[in-house]
């Protein structure tokens, strides 16, 4: 339903709001389907950060969608044909929830039955993510890192020359900015932010036993800092979290992950084979998982913060530019 509403709505702001609701809905849907880890991530990402980024982008690109000039009939036809073929394809699929479906026959039983002896972590998702398929995860962290670098190179600004005029216009803007006014919001968030950070750390280190892990913790951590940046202004946040350091943290996270693999190579195992990290294989697994989850958390949090800061910084710069133009016109 919401998806259909997204198609119809022309106002992009409303579209973004609907996307947020859609994200939250799909998160609850994932809970129903027993995928608690995924739901966690989707709730943080789909309902939180993605909406925020889209909002930031919309403020820069304009809110209205142009009225359509071309006929959507052809597109509709293509969609219906593809959809029809896909539905025809599903007729051979195993039924929803059946446990003798081919998906459940291959490696899944091994993960479910043996992971406790081999890895010693109750959360199977974590042990698959960080141990059995650690190589995939390394690749994914690398993709996230690369995306962060991409955003950085597309949106980062040349070092600002502090002209007098710019400062003046900035002061003017600062007065009517939201974070200078809402006292209640600022105080409440001041109380909340430490708890959000603490929760992120809990999610980070408790991922072995309950739902959670580096990905979710990274996103939650970044969300807390983004909240701070929104309420206290980008400049304050930039002073607290130096951009260079954050970029360094992103790189260090990935490096930590990869170097765990290299260390296990040196110790005579395969790449990312944690059994050799300690005398006892289980302890080695624990150590390895802890370290790489830390790496994942660092990179994800840092990249999310980089992305947000760059979007917001770009926006501020644009606002200054328009302000300057206005004052010159007068």
């Amino acid at each position: 339903m919401i998806a259909i509403a997204i198609v119809r709505t022309k106002d992009l702001l409303a579209v973004v709001m609907l996307t947020g609701i859609y994200g939250l809905l799909s998160a609850s849907f994932f809970v129903v389907l027993d995928a608690v880890d995924v739901a966690f991530t989707e709730a943080a990402v789909g309902a939180g950060i993605s909406g925020l980024l889209m909002l930031a982008a919309i403020t820069m690109t304009g809110r209205r969608e142009a009225p359509k000039r071309h006929k959507p009939l052809l597109a509709l036809l293509v969609v219906f044909i593809t959809g029809g073929m896909l539905i025809y394809g599903t007729l051979d699929m195993p039924y929803f929830g059946s446990f003798d479906a081919p998906v459940h026959q291959h490696v899944a039983p091994r993960y479910i039955n043996d992971s406790m002896q081999e890895v010693g972590v109750p959360n199977i998702v974590t042990s698959v993510l960080a141990s059995y398929r650690a190589f995939d995860t390394l690749g994914e962290v690398a993709v996230i890192f690369t995306a962060g670098i991409g955003v950085l190179s597309l949106l980062s600004l040349p070092r600002r020359r502090k002209s007098h005029q710019l400062d003046e216009s900035r002061e003017k803007i600062k007065k009517d900015e939201m974070h200078e006014q809402h006292m209640v919001l600022r105080i409440v968030s001041k109380i909340l932010i430490p708890f959000i950070l603490l929760f992120a750390l809990y999610v980070q280190f408790h991922g072995d036993f309950g739902p959670g892990g580096g990905f979710q913790a990274g996103v939650i951590f970044a969300a807390a800092i983004i909240l701070y940046a929104m309420l206290y202004g980008l400049d304050t946040a930039r002073r607290v979290f130096n951009q260079t350091i954050i970029q360094l943290v992103a790189a260090i996270g990935l490096l930590l992950y990869a170097s765990v693999g290299v260390v296990s190579l040196i110790n005579g195992g395969n790449f990312l084979d944690y059994n050799v990290l300690a005398d006892d294989p289980i302890a080695g697994q624990h150590l390895g998982i802890l370290l790489i989850e830390l790496g994942v958390g660092c990179t994800v949090a840092a990249v999310m913060i980089i992305i947000f800061f760059n979007f917001a910084g770009r926006r501020e710069a644009q606002q200054h530019a328009t302000e300057l133009n206005k004052s010159e016109g007068e």
Binding site: Y22, L33, I87
Partner: protein, 122 residues
Amino acid sequence: MVLGLYNYWIVVLLMMIGFYIVIAHGNLIKKLVGLTIFQTSVFIFYISMGNVDSGSAPILAEGVARYSNPLPHVLILTAIVVGIATTALGLALVVRIKESYGSIEEDEIQIQDQLTEDKTSC
């Protein structure tokens, strides 16, 4: 009997909605939203495949005999975070396009491209 397949149909429906937005709308941000919907439909597809009747979340506990398949969860978990990172990259591109073209409507951008091409060829 065929009702057992309803999860795939929901997925196909969502997927087609996303697909429709991508091909029928000219606004670049709207296109990205469409891609996100498409992406989520794939996520739901994987997760619903991993679901097992009367199964429990794949966290080992006493007295639970049947768990959902953890493998799709792992794949989708990372895919979500990778998805937001790539979406952010896309949004960054859109912002740059807006800055250099002054518009994020596909046809307007194409007209401008055509104009500059004509100029250089003359």
